[in-house]
C-alpha cells in the first residue's frame, strides 16, 4: 500500500508517454522488422489480394549483395566522414577563435549559428544553384566564383560524379551544422574556470601543454555529444539530398533515399529492410554512448 502511494502517481503520470512511445516507436519498429522479412514487393501483396510469405533474412542478404545498395552505403560512409570531420573542425575553430574574446562576439555567434535556422529544403534549393556543375564559359554558382577570384583549378562538376558526388552534398550540411557545434564548444570553453588555466600557467605549462592537458580533457564530453549528434543526423540524411539532387539521381543516393524510392514503388519489404539496416547502423553509434553515459551517471 505504501509502495503504491510512492510509485503510483509517477507511474500514472508517465504512462501516457510510455504508451505513446511504446506504440509509435517500438511497436512500429517491430512491425517494420516483420515486414522486412516478408516478400511484399508490390502493392497488391500489401493490399492482400496477392499472397505473400515469410522469407526470413533473404531481403537483407539480397540488399547487402546488391551493388546499388553497396553504393548507397559507401555514399553514406563517405558523407558521414566528411560531414563530421568538417563540422567538428569548423565548429571547434570558430569556438576557439570566439573564446579568445574576439570583438563583436555576439554578432559572429549569430552569424555562424544562423544557417541552422534555415530549413534544409530552403538551403538545399540555394545550394543546388551554387553547386551548378557547368564549367568553363557557362559556369554559374561556386564555379563562377572560383573563376572570378582566379581559382579556376577548383572548378569541378560537384554532385555530378559517381564516386564523390555525395561529398558535394556534405558541404551545405557542414555549412548548416558548424555553427551549432561552435555553440557547443563555446559552452564547453566557457565552462572551464579561469582558475584552472591560471593554475596551469603558474605550474609552467606552455600554450600547447595547457590545451593538451587542461582544456581538451575538459572538452571531451562536449566533443563526444557533438559527435553523437552529428553522427545520427548524418546517418539519417535525406531532406538535403532530396532538395539538392532529388531521389532519382544515382550518384548521391544513400539508404534513406533508397528506402523512399522502394516505398513509393510498393516494395514495402525491401523498404522496411533498408529502414532496419539504418536503425542498426544508428544503434551501433548510439548504444555505446548510452552505456557510457549510464556508467558516468552511476559514478
Amino acid at each position: 500500500m505504501r509502495k503504491l502511494k510512492r510509485y503510483g502517481p509517477p507511474i500514472l503520470l508517465i504512462s501516457p508517454s510510455l504508451f505513446l512511445i511504446g506504440l509509435f516507436v517500438y511497436v512500429l519498429i517491430f512491425s517494420s522488422a516483420q515486414t522486412s522479412m516478408t516478400d511484399i514487393y508490390t502493392n497488391p501483396q500489401f493490399a492482400g489480394t496477392r499472397p505473400h510469405t515469410f522469407v526470413w533474412f533473404t531481403n537483407f542478404i539480397d540488399l547487402l549483395k546488391d551493388g546499388d545498395f553497396q553504393h548507397s552505403l559507401k555514399n553514406l560512409l563517405l558523407y558521414t566522414l566528411v560531414f563530421i570531420t568538417g563540422a567538428m573542425f569548423f565548429g571547434f575553430l570558430w569556438a576557439w577563435l570566439l573564446d579568445k574574446r574576439a570583438r563583436f562576439e555576439g554578432v559572429f555567434r549569430s552569424v555562424f549559428l544562423f544557417p541552422m535556422a534555415v530549413s534544409s529544403v530552403a538551403a538545399g534549393v540555394v545550394w543546388r544553384w551554387l553547386l551548378n556543375s557547368n564549367v568553363g564559359d557557362r559556369a554559374t554558382g561556386l564555379n563562377r566564383l572560383f573563376q572570378m577570384v582566379g581559382l579556376d583549378f577548383l572548378e569541378n562538376k560537384w554532385t555530378n560524379n559517381i564516386s564523390f558526388g555525395i561529398v558535394a552534398v556534405a558541404i551545405p550540411a557542414i555549412w548548416q551544422m558548424s555553427g551549432y557545434i561552435m555553440a557547443l564548444f563555446l559552452a564547453g570553453f566557457r565552462g572551464i574556470p579561469t582558475e584552472l588555466r591560471e593554475a596551469a600557467r603558474v605550474d609552467g605549462a606552455n600554450e600547447f601543454k595547457l590545451y593538451r592537458y587542461v582544456i581538451f580533457p575538459q572538452l571531451s564530453p562536449v566533443a563526444l555529444s557533438a559527435l553523437i549528434i552529428l553522427g545520427h543526423m548524418s546517418l539519417k540524411v535525406f531532406d538535403l539530398i532530396m532538395a539538392i539532387t532529388g531521389a532519382k539521381f544515382y550518384p548521391t543516393k544513400v539508404p534513406a533515399v533508397d528506402m523512399y524510392n522502394l516505398m513509393t514503388e510498393g516494395n514495402f519489404a525491401n523498404a522496411a529492410a533498408v529502414g532496419i539496416i539504418l536503425l542498426l547502423v544508428v544503434l551501433v553509434l548510439i548504444v555505446p554512448y548510452l552505456i557510457h553515459t549510464a556508467r558516468g551517471d552511476k559514478r
Binding site: A47, R50, I162, K248, F249
Partner: protein
C-alpha cells in the same frame, strides 16, 4: 564547470529531439487527412439528403449525391482544367455535389496518400491514374473496377482510337477512362538560335537520329549555343524513349514490353549508343533541373533544341513566344508518324462510397463537353477523335497533335507510366542516371541493366 557541460549536452539532446519531432509531423497529417475525409463525406451526404430533391430540372439525369474525386491537379493550368470539369459536371448533373480530394505531387506524395486511403478501405469515388501499365498495381490489388460496361454506355468505343483502346484493355477489361492525351515525342526549337546556327527553322523534322546528330555537331562546331538542352534523370529517360522509338520503329518498340523485342539485342544497343552521343551534346548542369529550366533555355535562345512532352507550349505561350515565328516544333527526330502518348485517366474505385456519383464524373470527363472544356485549358488534346478542334478554337499545335493522334501509330511512354510499370520506370531511371553521370557505367552495363529491369 560541471554545471556547464551537462547543460550543453542537455541543450544538444533537446535540439536533436526537437528535430525528430518535426520530422514526424507530415506522417501524422497524412493519417488524419485520410481519416477526416470520409467523415466530411458523410456529413456532406447528410446535408444533401436533407435538401429537397429537385432533380426534375436536371436535363434528364436523376443522379444525386456526392462524388469525391482524387487528383494531383492542384495548381496552374491543371487546376483550372479541373475547375472547368466541375463546371461541366454542374451543368450536366446539377444534383451531384463535387468534393475535391486533390493533393499536390503527381510523382510521389499524392500517390502515397492515395495508397494509404485505399489500404484503409476508405477510397475516393474516382481517382486519377496515368493510363496504361501504371494502373497495373491498382488492378492487381483489386482497387479499381472494370468499367468496360461504361465504355459501351457512354459510347466511347467508337470515339477513342483503337490503338489507345488496345493499350488500355487487359484480358478484355478496361479499368480507366482517359480525360486527356499528351504527346511525349516532340522536338522544340528556338528560331533565333536556329538562325544563328544556320539551320532552316522549317526543316526540323529529322528523318533519323543520325541526321539530328549531324546538325547538333554543326551547332557545337559553329556556335557557343547548347545544342540540346535537357534536365534531370526523368527528362533523360524521356529522351531515351524517343530515341528507342526512332531507332526501333513503333512495333519493335512496343515489343520491348511484351518480350518480343530483345533488350539485350544489337538494335537496342545501337539506340543506346546514339542516346549516349545525344547526351554529349547537352548542358553539363542537366541533373540540377526539372524539365522547365531545360525548356526555358529554348525560350531564352541559349539552347537550340529540347525534346519534351507537349506541356511545353503552356510555358512557351506564357512567355509571349509565338508558334512558328519564335519557336518551332516537330516530332522528335526519327519519330514522324508515331505518337508517343501518355494520358491522365480516371478510375471507378472498388468500394466507392458513391458509385453513381463516380459514374456521373466518368461520364463528364469522357463526354465531348468535358474533354473540350478541360483540354482547352490544360493544353493537352482530347482522347476523343470526334471533336472538331478547329471549330472549337483549340490552338494550332493542339489541332495538329489531334490529327496525328487520329492517324499515327500510337505507342506508350516509358517515363510516364503508359508502357512501363512503376518498378520498371524506377529501374530505368537508375540505369540512365548511372550511364549519364561522368565516370559511371559503360554502354554494355547500361544495356544489361535495362534488360534486367524489363526481364520477367
Amino acid at each position: 564547470m560541471r554545471r556547464f557541460t551537462p547543460f550543453a549536452i542537455l541543450a544538444a539532446v533537446g535540439l536533436a529531439l526537437a528535430g525528430c519531432g518535426t520530422s514526424n509531423e507530415p506522417s501524422d497529417d497524412t493519417s488524419t487527412g485520410a481519416e477526416n475525409t470520409p467523415e466530411e463525406t458523410t456529413a456532406a451526404a447528410t446535408d444533401e439528403a436533407e435538401t429537397p430533391d429537385d432533380s426534375t430540372e436536371a436535363g434528364g439525369s436523376d443522379v444525386s449525391g456526392d462524388v469525391e474525386v482524387f487528383t494531383w491537379w492542384t495548381a496552374g493550368s491543371e487546376a483550372l482544367g479541373l475547375e472547368a470539369l466541375q463546371g461541366v459536371l454542374a451543368a450536366k448533373y446539377p444534383d451531384v455535389n463535387f468534393i475535391n480530394g486533390g493533393v499536390t505531387g503527381g510523382g510521389g506524395s499524392a500517390k502515397e496518400l492515395l495508397q494509404t486511403r485505399l489500404q484503409a478501405n476508405q477510397p475516393p469515388d474516382s481517382f486519377q491514374v496515368h493510363a496504361g501499365k501504371e494502373a497495373q498495381d491498382y488492378i492487381d490489388a483489386g482497387q479499381v473496377t472494370d468499367v468496360s460496361a461504361l465504355y459501351e454506355e457512354f459510347g466511347l468505343t467508337d470515339v477513342f482510337p483503337q490503338d489507345l483502346l488496345d493499350m488500355l484493355t487487359q484480358d478484355g477489361k478496361i479499368y480507366t477512362i482517359p480525360s486527356n492525351v499528351h504527346r511525349a515525342n516532340v522536338l522544340w526549337a528556338s528560331v533565333p538560335a536556329l538562325e544563328q546556327a544556320g539551320i532552316d527553322p522549317q526543316a526540323t523534322t529529322y528523318a533519323s537520329v543520325d541526321d539530328f546528330i549531324a546538325d547538333l555537331q554543326k551547332i557545337q562546331d559553329s556556335t557557343d549555343l547548347i545544342p540540346l538542352s535537357i534536365g534531370g534523370t526523368w527528362t533523360q529517360v524521356h529522351l531515351l524513349e524517343c530515341v528507342l522509338i526512332a531507332e526501333l520503329g513503333p512495333e519493335a518498340y512496343l515489343g520491348l514490353f511484351d518480350g518480343t523485342t530483345d533488350w539485350a539485342g544489337s538494335e537496342v544497343g545501337g539506340a543506346l549508343e546514339k542516346f549516349g552521343t545525344l547526351i554529349g551534346f547537352t548542358n553539363d548542369d542537366r541533373d540540377q533541373y526539372d524539365w522547365e529550366p531545360a525548356s526555358q533555355m529554348v525560350v531564352d535562345g541559349t539552347a537550340v533544341f529540347n525534346v519534351m512532352g507537349d506541356w511545353v507550349p503552356a510555358l512557351l505561350d506564357s512567355t509571349g513566344l509565338v508558334d512558328g515565328t519564335d519557336y518551332v516544333w516537330a516530332p522528335a527526330p526519327g519519330t514522324d508518324g508515331v505518337y508517343d502518348f501518355l494520358a491522365d485517366s480516371f478510375s471507378l474505385a472498388q468500394g466507392a462510397p458513391h458509385p453513381d456519383g463516380a459514374k456521373a464524373w466518368l461520364d463528364v470527363i469522357s463526354s465531348a463537353d468535358g474533354q473540350e472544356a478541360f483540354n482547352k485549358v490544360k493544353g493537352s488534346i482530347p482522347a476523343r477523335t470526334d471533336l472538331d478542334l478547329a471549330a472549337l478554337g483549340f490552338s494550332d499545335y493542339q489541332q495538329q497533335a489531334a490529327q496525328s493522334f487520329a492517324t499515327d501509330a500510337i505507342v506508350g511512354s516509358i517515363q510516364h507510366g503508359a508502357a512501363a510499370t512503376i518498378q520498371q520506370g524506377n529501374a530505368t531511371n537508375d540505369a540512365v542516371s548511372k550511364f549519364t553521370t561522368s565516370g559511371s557505367t559503360d554502354l554494355e552495363t547500361f544495356q544489361s541493366e535495362l534488360a534486367a529491369a524489363y526481364a520477367g
